[in-house]
């Protein structure tokens, strides 16, 4: 499953949408009785006359009533589904922004998600990307700092003409730091 939604997202999306239409149906039900006269008359002929009249106007009145209710339902749905779609679109937008930040070389941040957001697993994965590459880059930085320090030591030793043993130790430290850097970078396939 690619879309990891917040708990009950699907259920509440279903229920809230259904409740809107249910309310619309209830209003339509009341509207039908409001649109037509309450009494059919006292005599057989008056009932027949009203029934005939009812038959003539029934379709258009009910169609207009449902059109108005339908418009209200669509408006309510637009608001409701704007919120529900935002719970996917919002995190997706922020993930894109975060990816752009990483592309600029910024590995400092964490991805912020809101409690009701979806796609939290993708946000976690992207956070892991940031922390993994940050760890690699920091390992390289540490290695370079160590090499820089040792090379300064070697420069001093060479100028002072100190013992071979001290030079060998510094050279070994440099080689060891270079290997650590190599190891950190070899984990990344480019």
């Amino acid at each position: 499953m690619g879309l990891t939604t917040h708990r009950n997202y699907r259920l509440f999306l279903y229920l809230n949408t259904f409740v809107i239409v249910l309310l619309g149906a209830a209003i339509a039900g009341f509207g039908v009785f409001w649109l037509f006269p309450a009494s059919l008359g006292d005599s057989f002929h008056s009932v027949q006359a009203i029934v005939r009249e009812l038959g003539k106007v029934l379709f258009w009145r009910v169609a207009i009533l449902y059109a108005v209710i339908s418009l209200l339902i669509v408006l309510a749905m637009a608001v409701l589904h704007l919120l529900y779609s935002h719970r996917i679109a919002g995190p997706a937008y922020r993930l894109g922004r975060e990816a752009a930040r990483i592309a600029r070389g910024d590995l400092t941040g964490n991805i912020k998600c809101r409690p009701k957001d979806n796609l939290t697993d993708m946000a976690d994965s992207l956070c892991n990307v940031v922390s993994q590459y940050r760890a690699r880059i920091n390992a390289v930085k540490d290695g370079l700092a160590s090499i820089e320090q040792k090379s300064k030591t070697m420069s001093g030793l060479l100028q002072q003409g100190k013992s071979e043993a001290a030079l060998r130790e510094a050279a070994n430290d440099i080689v060891s730091s270079v290997k650590k850097i190599e190891q950190s970078l070899s984990e990344v396939r480019t």
Binding site: Y66, M122, M154, S155
Partner: protein, 196 residues
């Protein structure tokens, strides 16, 4: 991952195409329900009126008595059908979103594992094309920057190896140390392109 308690939403219509399609799907289902309800109501009500028109005895006094069973019946049937169609619409919508998001999640996991070689591309009609483009940009930039560091690392390794050999053979020179320092400086430039 942090959960930002104080980060309030300001713009709700953030991915217009995706959100428009999301909203339209449900608006279309509701509109179909409405049209179907009218037709069903009209069909049942007309049938009832026809019955009354041709009956010799009428025991209905009000429109409520006449139209209530028809209204309730038509609404109940249309709501039942709507419930089914709504469930299907939500299922297909989330299923449609799952494919590209699953693909992107796998792509991110691959990058997390250190593989920057594979492109991040979705199928043409998939949702989240812009997110895929952002992730692809991230991958190519990471790849470019790390490839550059790797090139500099090769020079650093060569300089370190040469210095190590010279030290072992007892003829290390200041020039070799300077070459190593120069390789370190170049590599630092590449590494400092990252803020970590």
């Amino acid at each position: 991952m942090l959960f930002g308690k104080h980060s309030k939403r300001k713009i709700y219509f953030i991915k217009k195409d995706f959100q428009s399609r999301f909203i339209l799907r449900f608006a279309a289902v509701a509109t179909v329900w409405s049209a179907a309800s009218v037709l069903l109501f009209f069909y049942l009500a007309n049938k009832k009126l026809e019955e009354i028109r041709y009956s010799s005895h009428i025991d209905i006094a009000t429109t409520s008595e006449l139209l209530m069973p028809v209204t309730i019946g038509s609404l109940a049937v249309s709501l039942l059908i709507f419930a089914g169609i709504l469930g299907y619409a939500i299922h297909t919508l989330l299923h449609k979103l799952s494919g590209p998001l699953g693909q992107l999640r796998r792509d991110i996991a691959r990058i997390e594992g250190g593989d920057l070689t594979s492109d991040i591309i979705l199928r043409e009609k998939d949702e989240f094309q812009d997110l895929a483009a952002d992730l692809e940009e991230m991958r190519t930039e990471l790849r470019r920057r790390i490839a550059r560091i790797k090139e500099q690392q090769a020079m650093l390794s060569a300089a370190a190896a040469e210095l190590g050999r010279s030290v072992q053979e007892g003829h290390a020179s200041s020039q070799q140390v300077a070459a190593l320092e120069s390789a370190v400086v170049r590599m630092k430039e590449g590494v400092h392109a990252f803020q970590s």
